[in-house]
Amino acid sequence: MERLLNRPSGIWLWPIFLSMAAALVFTLPGSAVASDKVIKIGSCPDLSGPTSEVGKPFSSGVRGYFDYINSKGGINGRKIEYLETDGSYNIPQETAAFKRFVMDGIVAFIGWSGGGHLQIAQMASAKKIVVLGASISDVFANIQTSPYSFIHCASYDQVWRAMIDHAMNKNPGKKLKAVIIYPDNGYGHQNADTCRKYLKEKGLELVGEEIVGFKDIDATAQMLKIQRLNADIALCPQVEPSIAVIMRDAKKVGIDTKKLQFYVNLQGMGPVGIKLGGKNVEDLIGGSPFSAWEEKDLPGIKMIHQANPDKKALLPWYVHGWAAALVISEGLRRLGDKEVTGENLKKSLESIKDFDTGGVTSPISFSPENHIGGRGVKLYRPNLQAGYFEAMTDFIYPK
């Protein structure tokens, strides 16, 4: 070891350095031209960061659908090439990925994080590339700021409306008190803003807000405060580990989860939440714009089963990704023989009316004024025995 340390050891690092430089120069992404036979679609899901538990199945869902379609001959004879890189919930990384794929000639991009998608939506509109995102916040349907941005299902807005409506229907005539428990990031704030708006619209009282972040392992202090507020409903845009922590600590401080109804949106309704939370989450209600894998009677879900014959179960976010791919493909299909460009795809999508996705989502409609595709939301309850969330309603259409 000593001898190794005393030699001019830097020399052996040079071959590594030079070969890296050479490799980099030779393998740079060239500016590819979108050929007529191949349609390129890019994406930057979170495969390794704080939301990777949702990101990985989402990415599988998107890829699953495109693979399935390609195996059936593609769309109008053209195959889809799905370019994907890990965004890691990191905005500079996501935007760099977007720029790289633009150079590769994509016509559509599927974004991920709330913050990153915001930025990419603006850039995409400048470059005339259609964007959809896993973050289905209404912010992205703003035609003024990002005219090329579409939401392939009901948005977060609808999901929260549906859940708040459900609470109001169960307690007719009562002026409900609500708390919002959200993480301190783009996703959390976007959802919280939506909740506040709707609560105000319906005349419900917002008695408190608490922050519980993605990384928090202890929410006792927050729950202690909520306990004293005597709220009726708790709206939680959270991921699974967080909602498990929240409900565990809620029970810990003595909150009766039958009296205080916890609602979580689709990012929090998965098997891990049930595993982590156990009995603590038994009273949780989840809302999602999608149907679940377990509903195999629906033709759209059956198609997912057919595409994945060897899978025992797939997560709600697989369906989310699948649906995104499905909607883009429908837009591409309607292009017929026209040239595949972002601009044409946008117009094609806007022409979709009442597209039946076979029950995967509620029927999808777009128009030049409306880029939110769906309005239907399903509510779910955890099935502790089976270990997944079960649909307890069909698609609800909040007003």
Partner: protein, 298 residues
């Protein structure tokens, strides 16, 4: 008892619970500092390693909890020795920056390896001691929480006496205070380094496994290591008693801040409050509440 007093009490109690967790982590870091003058920024990742080892023992080998805990301790000791010998030994004598960078780099390597093997999913341990419950002041504590607190406190007391009376403890303190003198008395400094890293790894591993059981395990559990920096700063980086006391203090402060300030400030105030208080304290007592002031000689 009126309500706001109850809230205060509940927050303090929870703060003490959280503090007991911090105390083990900060104890591990202080141990390494006292033994080898290294600030180990990879402590959180050692926590994570212990948790994953425990996970494998309990879910793959299906060992019962107590056995798994003991085995985890043994494995972590080996890991601690390995890390010290491979990565820290060559850095003896180098500047502080280099050593700190090595621990930082190590934390990335650990996280990368764990990510490769286990991915970034959240894993759940099999249920341990679910049914035993204790109620303190209106807050339920499940069995595993009690074990965690009990173990944390017990280990802290154990190490306090270890350092004061055991021959190895004294040897470690000697190494920390003056390596040359220690060598001349015949104590193998290298062995002492190995020992303190092994013990520190064991401690972190234990608390990591317990944390994993309580709240699920994924790659981000190492974050706790960073949070433990606050108590160390406050208590003084080379004072065991200081670190422990500061841990409880920081736990309580964080909870109180989250409880009272969050609504006005609107956000996750835990880390910021802890760090802000520390910055203020450091203006008056730069070496922490109980740290020894460094007297430099040329």
């Amino acid at each position: 008892m009126n309500d706001s007093l109850r809230l205060l009490l509940d927050l303090i109690i929870n703060g003490l619970v959280v503090g007991s967790v911090y105390s083990l982590i900060s104890l591990s870091m202080v141990l390494i500092y006292k033994g080898s003058k290294v600030l180990n920024l990879a402590q959180g990742e050692l926590l994570m390693a212990g948790a994953y080892v425990g996970l494998v023992l309990m879910t793959v080998l299906h060992l019962p909890f107590v056995l798994a805990l003991c085995l985890t301790t043994a494995v972590m000791a080996v890991i601690g020795l390995f890390v010290e010998r491979t990565f820290l030994r060559p850095m003896i004598g180098e500047s502080i920056i280099s050593v700190i960078m090595i621990t930082l780099a190590l934390s990335y390597v650990f996280r990368g390896v764990a990510g490769l093997i286990w991915g970034s999913e959240t894993y759940v341990f099999p249920r341990v001691l679910e049914d035993t419950n204790v109620t303190v002041g209106g807050i339920f504590f499940s069995g595993i929480y009690i074990v965690t607190i009990g173990l944390a406190l017990g280990l802290v007391v154990l190490f306090f006496f270890f350092f004061k009376y055991s021959i190895y403890g004294i040897a470690l303190r000697a190494t920390a205070s003056d390596q040359q003198a220690t060598l001349s008395v015949g104590i193998s400094v290298k062995r002492m380094f190995g020992l303190c890293w092994a013990i520190s790894a064991m401690l972190s591993g234990v608390i990591g496994m317990l944390l994993g059981i309580v709240s699920g395990l994924n790659l981000t559990i190492g974050f706790y290591g960073l949070l433990a920096l606050a108590p160390i700063l406050l208590g003084g980086i080379d004072s065991i008693g200081g670190a422990i006391l500061a841990s409880f203090l920081v736990g309580v402060i964080e909870n109180l801040a989250q409880g009272y300030l969050a609504s006005t400030v609107g956000g996750s105030v835990k880390e910021v409050t802890a760090f802000s208080i520390i910055v203020i304290v450091m203006i008056f007592r730069p070496y922490g509440l109980f740290g020894t002031e460094e007297i430099e000689r040329l």
